[in-house]
Amino acid sequence: MADMKKVATRDSYGAALAALGAEHTDLVVLDADLAGATKTGVFKKAFPDRHFDFGIAEGNMVAAAAGMAAAGLVPFASSFAMFAAGRAFEQIRNSIGYPNLNVKIGATHGGISVGEDGASHQCCEDFALMRSIPGMTVICPADDIEAKAAVKAAYEYKGPVYLRFGRLAVPVFHNEDYQFVIGKGEILREGTDVAIIANGLMTYEAIQAGEMLAEAGINACVINMPTIKPLDEELVLEAARKCGKVITCEEHSIIGGLGEAVCGLLSEKLPTPVRRIGVNDEYGHSGPAVALLKQFGLTADHIVEVAKDFCK
């Protein structure tokens, strides 16, 4: 495992945009003075005539993207998750969501793994904000291959999509032939004792936790759930029915994200005990990403601990 290739999904985003841009001239990219960090700079290098920098003005960028979509283009508007989903929330809600315009929000630097920049830049609220917008699709891919596939799927899908990418390089565990479908989860490990549903960088932690739990005699079902909205309800219900216990794992606040989406579904359709692993109702802080993830319990070890307690 230690020698697995690692790629930050923000790099996957830049590479996927550049690849898609070569095929589709209606794909345009917008950024707010972060092209180097969001990796849209890769697209800019290839297609300078359709990469538009809006300067440090996210609200204007997002609403301008709406105008471009109304004129028939497929804009990908990028910034850090904090400033895309957070600062520009109301522009996304009113100028993109309400008119159902074909804009893709490519948000990088999601979660606490932003690291040293600290709490002001560590967005753990974006799933909650974006999920609340009617008609918005919300995706958080787990690795390089899934991230690239998600960008392509978002381009092909007609309607607003929020894509969340990470700054930290994470293991690439999918095979090249992986088929990503919006709204579909993926069973990575079959099991019957507890279902672990994860997305983003927590999916790989969940895979590892599944293996560790197997050694301890707990047979976990591990599910990757890249699309938070619309949720793959069928798969969640099937896993809950089979296991009777569900653990959700996300690099996001336990309020309003994957955990609450799963709880909302299960409480109405199949009441099942759930434990939510995520960032508790608190802010992050500065530190190396890996140390922060450990400190906030976003690790395979912590999943194992919770699962063992849950399965007592």
Binding site: V28, D49, R50, F52, F54, G55, A57, G59, N60, M61, V62, A63, A64, A65, A66, G67, M68, A69, A70, A71, G72, L73, P75, E90, Q91, N94, S95, Y98, P99, N100
Partner: protein
Amino acid sequence: MTSSEKKQLQIAACKVRMGVIESTHGAKAGHPGGSLSAAEVFTYLYFKEMNIDPANPKWEDRDRFVLSKGHTAPGLYSALAYRGYFPVEDLPTLRHIDSYLQGHPNMNTVPGVDMSTGSLGQGISAAVGMAMAAKYQGKTNRVYSLLGDGEIQEGQVWEACMAAAHYKLDNLCIIVDNNGLQIDGNVADVMSPYPIVDKLLAFGFNVHAVDGHDFDALEKAFENAKKTKGQPTAIVMSTVKGKGVSFMENDAGWHGKAPNDAEYEQAMSELKAQLAEVEGK
């Protein structure tokens, strides 16, 4: 423009005003004041300036209009109805439950509305995006956006202005309806946006200050805008809020209030008299 053209525009503007009164009276709500102050510019844009086809509202190469001050939807809807986008008889269904005439412009329900707006400061950004798209697509269509003088207190307006000049959007023309009033009172007292012309000049616009009720002045400014290359144009219109209805003029109270039955009768009789006067010219 010829005197006959001008007369036709003046007639249309009277009708647009009547539609504003009909719709806000029918809605028992809505924003007549800023709809009436902009009646001439709505009329000029939809009856003379813009390259549009009411029979084909989604025509790809049409000029676009974004009502950034979305609350003055009654003015836009009235202009669209009289221009033939939908029946004038539907105007009184404004704001009614299940009516397609939503309280603020909805591009997915109202034929002819190019962008959904209502949250102030966002429409101009969408217009910037449309103008950038036209340039990238190699199209020659133009984009227009109408803003309120209160609206320009929104910081996003100036983000959009910066981008418009930066990207040399000479296919974009913004119009500021400087009627001097907003909900809480005089714009100068609430939060002064002045000097508006100087600010827009400093932001890199080709700026025209005109009487917004004078079709000759509007024509001159819009014609100049089309000839201006390398920079966006801003037309700052001096207007009277509530123009055309005596008791609504220059009264912030009529920003967002509908006429009752008696007020409706009075307003309509005043507008009918104005129409008869113009038609008799």
